[in-house]
């Protein structure tokens, strides 16, 4: 099928239409089977997927063909000399991303149909609302991928943030879910505000936010030197917030309070990867200069190692996966930082599939356990890996797909993860060979690779191997073991998505040769048609000599196997005991997540609470309803004045004085008194006004 504007419009707007139907119609008037909501959303993402499959994928190997919709960008918000021009763009990066986004979204929608049916043993009361949010999210993500400009990209970015907030807090009756939603929203907001400043710098200096024009502007030197670095750092800060990089990573593990499909879609496969996508695009158009790139590389590399180390000691299955997501996103940032655009996007794609598979697999396990525990009236935590074990035989399909995805994330050959991670590590090794002073970048990557294999296999061994409930603690331990023996494999609605996603975690789709980057490198590293010639410096980096590749392979596979072996010795064969380690200081530091969460809580949350309580009291006393910034200031001034005179403090406390609001009301009352209703009075005002103005004028002309 021809790749056309109409097709893109349908791909973009179908999920939005689904969202509108859901939120306006389904929840309100359709009383019958609530599955109607799911069907609308499935269509809302299924149609785009089908269109992408027949309309976009066949055009993958036309590297110079860039589609602009509309041909000339729309002038949207027009401020005279400056205006925002918006449009859609399909280049190679967009094509592969579109395929990934629509497919993963479709699979996760399908999985949710079954997974979301029950809440606490009752039919889910907000079933269609859940799907409405998912549809809105899909729209936002597609908008972000298709945008040819940073303005609509930012709109999609923020919409995703909103959906993330709504979905993390979906189980809103849980305090922890509310807190996590707020934490996620506020933490990413820090990055978003900085991002907005970065966009403003770019807009002010280049005069446009369209990617091609930005690329040309940067090349023409419209923005350079430290201003370029500053803009780059601000833009990167947005990516740090969204992609949960150190030091703004703390929200992502907490975001696991949301339903598991949400964790899979938003907090693993797509939204958090948007930060990497942004960083990669910035690399492409040249907004990241050498200094910024170094920062990006170090933040990414450090995050990869840092998050992996925390994942070593987590016991909640979803939290392990969350930290591993943070760590993998760090890998992608590392690749961007060393200028390896292709590898960053490649890993983004493969990661989306195998991480979605891992999350959905854990969802399948949690779902089954929840059901079993509920049947036995147990209150055991269905997400705690200590309450699992031996599920291999009970849930063979889930186990099989989960294992494939685990092998992929650990970087074992014959998987997609091996290909993409290898590309990243090879890129960083090549970079280090060129710049020996940045040796740490490669060290971060390789150590984190070993850790990844270790904690992922720890998770697999705890969950699927051993005896059912072998590690269960507490008074319910025996009952848990009993319940686990009755766990059943999930229905096909949940296992089909698992199988599909697991397929894409294998090497075969990405490359026939199990050790080369395959077609994806060809598609992504081909020059994007819209970039100015010299902007291809992004492609110059990252492809070291073949020997680097070979050494990387040996090293990374060796380290990964070492990680698997150690995990097996600890948890499968139990040759070694973790007791001494678990009681040591280091484990405590890890369990406290290096104390960062506590530090933020102390530094920001509690002080913000104090401030808001204080201002809340202030509000109560001062303003009866309208929040009036002006009144705030004047009352403050007045307050200090009365403090000096020490006279009428009580009036302020009693709320009798409303600051400017009061003053304005008095003035208003004064003017109203002129409005007597007597026409002769009005005419008096007319003539006295005229005379006053006439005198004023005469005086001015004298």
């Amino acid at each position: 099928m021809e790749l056309s504007g109409t097709l893109l419009a349908i791909v973009l707007f179908a999920p939005l239409v689904a969202f509108l139907i859901q939120i306006l119609l389904v929840g309100r008037w359709v009383r019958g089977p609530r599955v109607a909501g799911a069907v609308v959303s499935l269509l809302g993402v299924g149609v785009p997927f089908f269109l992408v499959l027949v309309g976009v994928v066949p055009h993958l190997f036309e590297p110079t063909a860039v589609l602009w919709v509309p041909q000339a960008p729309l002038r949207w918000i027009d401020l005279g000399p400056l205006s925002f021009q918006v449009g859609l763009m399909v280049d190679n990066t967009t094509k592969v991303l579109l395929f990934m986004v629509t497919l993963v979204c479709l699979m996760i929608h399908l999985f949710s149909v079954e997974y979301m049916k029950v809440r606490d043993g009752e039919p889910e009361p907000y079933y269609s609302r859940f799907f409405a949010y998912l549809s809105l999210f899909t729209f936002a993500m597609i908008l972000l991928t298709l945008s040819d400009n940073l303005l609509t990209l930012f709109i999609g970015w923020e919409l995703m943030g909103l959906c993330s907030y709504l979905l993390i807090g979906f189980y809103y009756e849980r305090k922890s879910a509310q807190d996590a939603a707020i934490k996620a929203f506020l933490t990413t907001r820090v990055g978003d505000v900085l991002l907005l400043i970065g966009l403003a710098i770019v807009w002010a200096s280049v005069g446009s936010l369209r990617l091609p024009e930005v690329a040309q502007g940067v090349q023409a030197g419209a923005i350079k030197g430290w201003l370029l670095t500053l803009a780059g750092l601000f833009l990167f800060a947005g990516a740090v917030g969204k992609s949960a990089q150190f030091p703004l990573h703390t929200w992502l593990p907490d975001a696991m309070e949301g339903p598991t499909p949400v964790s899979a879609l938003i907090h693993a496969a797509t939204m958090v990867a948007a930060g990497v996508y942004l960083a990669a695009r910035m690399l492409q158009v040249g907004l990241f200069d050498e200094r910024t790139l170094l920062v990006v590389a170090y933040v990414g590399g450090f995050t990869a190692l840092f998050a992996a180390s925390i994942a070593l000691v987590q016991t909640d299955i979803k939290r392990v996966l969350a930290y591993s997501t943070v760590s993998q996103l760090g890998y992608m940032m590392l690749a961007v930082g060393v200028g390896n655009y292709t590898a960053a996007l490649f890993h983004l794609l493969t990661h989306a599939f195998f991480k979605a598979c891992l999350f959905l697999g854990s969802g399948s396990v949690i779902h089954a356990l929840h059901e079993a525990f509920h049947r036995h009236h147990l209150h055991a935590d269905a997400q705690d890996m200590r309450n699992m074990g031996g599920l291999r035989r009970r849930m063979p399909l889930t186990f099989g797909t989960f294992l494939i995805a685990t092998l992929a994330i650990s970087g074992i050959p014959l998987t997609a993860g091996f290909l993409s991670k290898d590309a990243i590590l090879a890129g960083s090794l090549a970079y280090v060979l060129e710049h020996p002073q940045h040796l740490m970048l490669a060290v971060f990557g390789f150590i984190a690779a070993a850790m990844t294999a270790f904690y992922m296999f720890r998770l697999v061994f705890w969950t699927f191997a051993g005896t059912p409930g072998g590690r269960a603690l507490g008074p319910e331990a025996d009952a848990v073991r009993g319940a686990l023996a009755e766990v059943r494999e999930s229905s096909w609605v949940m296992t089909v998505p698992l199988a599909v996603l697991a397929f894409f975690a294998l090497w075969i789709f990405w490359s026939l040769h199990p050790a080369s980057e395959g077609w994806i490198a060809e598609v992504l590293s081909g020059a994007e048609g819209w970039l100015p010639e010299a902007a291809h410096r992004a492609e110059a980096h990252g492809h070291g000599p073949a020997s680097v590749h070979l050494w990387t392979m040996v090293l990374s596979v060796g380290l990964a196997l070492l990680g698997v072996l150690v995990a097996a010795l600890f948890y499968l064969y139990r040759r070694w005991s973790t007791e001494r380690f678990a009681q040591g200081q280091f484990a405590r530091v890890l369990e406290a997540k290096y104390g960062l969460d506590a530090l933020y809580d102390w530094a920001f949350v509690r002080n913000a609470h104090r401030l808001s309580q204080w201002s809340g009291r202030f509000d109560l006393r001062v303003i009866d309803g309208a929040v009036n910034g002006l009144a705030y200031l004047v009352v403050g001034a007045r307050h200090s004045f009365t403090w000096v005179t020490g006279a009428i403090d009580r009036y302020v406390v009693d709320g009798a004085v409303n600051g400017v609001a009061w003053l304005l009301r008095q003035l208003g009352a004064g003017f109203r008194q002129l409005q007597t209703g007597y026409i002769q009075g009005y005419l008096l005002v007319v003539f006295s006004g005229l005379v006053a103005l006439a005198f004023l004028i005469s005086a001015a002309f004298r």
């Binding site: 009036n628 002006l630 003017f671 005419l683």
Partner: protein
């Protein structure tokens, strides 16, 4: 006598659109319906005729006659509810006030004619060139009394709250938009053609005078709106305040470099204003009908969000737009207007009135003040508890009408682009160059 250019056509569309909506709404208005007489529509049409002529008047005499045509029909419309003393009183006040204002204006016009010896606006700059600036500016002041009465600008505004409150609601809405649109078209043309000349602006300092009136109008309008308990009166004062903002666009004419932009900004403001102000008035009218709230008092709107989510949300959106909160049309209208004014100031060199950036600051502060009373209404509707729980149902036809007004309020600012839709700019420029060669049907060609 009558100009046929972009400015005129643009405002004619606004006026005729408002008249059309007024007729549509009046069909179902019980106020008009109960006392149904065919002359209501005739009067609306005649008033619209006067306003349309105002939009095109390029001659002092035409200007006066057009204003009188519009006024006379408006007087009768304001007193249309003959059985009600409130309406009769409004009409009576309107007549007396209008008579005085137009008398003063006529005096000013005759002074201008006496000084310059011509009635043609386009010939005035040359005719006034040698005259004493003081005499000219005093004459101008008297003319301003008449214009100010039509614009409802301080200190000639006092009729409007009483008339707006007393007149039937469709008429109030009509007057607040169409009459004001005609008056602004007239004022724009008057100052642009007769006083737009740099020398005259420098000599008479009229921009300063207008800036002062603008400041007083927006401030007093907003302050008096605070504490109003009747929704119609609140909207009347809000309409006065908006007139104050709009006068900034006239002040910006002092800088010839941005005159087209200033006119476009005022034009766009009126388009936005048409939708949001008519919308607000119509919701108030709908709520005032006996089978709904049967009240225009803000206090009775308490808990409206529960009783009628649609009407409450619609009114809130119109009010948000009137405040100037993005993304609603009112925000863009204000943005363009202030931007034109700021640019007039930045690009003016020595032009009086061009540097009055303080007026923008005042306008922004005024916007903050206006937040108070608009949001008070929203707060009453959304957060106060209702006295009774009986649901309030909007008439289906009314819902349709609301959508017609709501959708532009949402998307107008987002879709408007000066290059593509900027009717006033394009056509004002075009007519300025065309009119000297192609003589328009009725008008005397003008030079600038």
């Amino acid at each position: 006598m009558v100009a046929d250019d972009g400015l005129a056509w643009f405002f004619k569309l606004v006026i005729l659109g408002t008249a059309l909506l007024t007729c549509l709404v009046s069909i179902r208005s019980p106020e008009v319906f109960d006392a149904f007489r065919g002359e209501f529509f005739v009067l609306v049409v005649f008033a619209a005729l006067g306003m349309v002529l105002m939009a095109g008047a390029a001659n002092l005499l035409m200007l006066y006659l057009a204003m009188e045509t519009a006024s006379l029909s408006s007087y009768v419309l304001a007193g249309f509810l003959s059985g009600q003393s409130r309406s009769a009183e409004a009409s009576f006040k309107y007549v007396i006030y209008g008579a005085v204002a137009s008398g003063v204006m006529l005096f000013g016009l005759s002074l201008l004619f006496g000084i310059g010896g011509t009635l043609d606006l386009a010939e005035l700059p040359a005719a006034l060139a040698g005259a004493s600036p003081l005499a000219v500016v005093l004459a101008l002041l008297f003319v301003l009394a008449g214009l100010g009465y039509k614009l409802a600008s301080v200190p000639f505004h006092m009729w409007s709250p009483d008339v707006y409150e007393g007149a039937p609601l469709p008429v109030t809405a009509f007057l607040s938009v169409a009459s004001k649109a005609g008056a602004f078209a007239l004022t724009l043309r008057f100052f642009d053609e007769a006083f737009g000349d740099r020398a005259i602006a420098l000599a008479t300092q009229w921009p300063l005078l207008l800036a002062l009136i603008s400041l007083l109008t927006m401030t007093i309008g907003n302050l008096a709106a605070i504490g109003q308990r009747n929704m119609k009166r609140l909207l009347a004062y809000s309409s006065i305040a908006h007139g104050g903002y709009l006068l900034m666009g006239v002040v910006a004419l002092a800088n010839p470099a941005v005159r087209a932009e200033a006119m476009a900004a005022v034009g766009f403001y009126f388009v936005a204003y048409l939708f949001m102000n008519l919308g607000a008035f119509y919701v108030v009218q709908h709520l005032a009908e006996p089978e709904r709230l049967n009240s225009e008092m803000i206090a009775d709107y308490a808990g409206l969000l529960r009783r009628s989510p649609f009407l409450a949300v619609a009114l809130s959106i119109f009010l948000f737009s009137l405040i100037g909160i993005p993304p609603f049309a009112g925000f863009w209208a204000k943005l363009y207007l202030f931007e034109a004014f700021v640019r007039a100031g930045l690009e003016a060199e020595g032009i009086a009135g061009g540097r009055h950036l303080w007026l923008v600051v005042a306008a922004l502060l005024n916007t903050a003040i206006s937040l108070y009373y608009y949001l008070y209404v929203v707060k009453t509707m959304c957060f106060d508890s209702a006295v009774e729980d009986r649901p309030v149902r909007a008439h289906p036809a009314f819902v349709g009408l609301m959508l017609v007004l709501l959708i532009p309020t949402f998307v107008l600012g987002l879709l408007w682009s000066r290059e593509e839709l900027g009717v006033p700019v394009v056509q004002v420029e075009a007519s300025a160059s065309l009119s000297s060669s192609v003589s328009p049907t009725l008008g005397t060609p003008f030079r600038r």
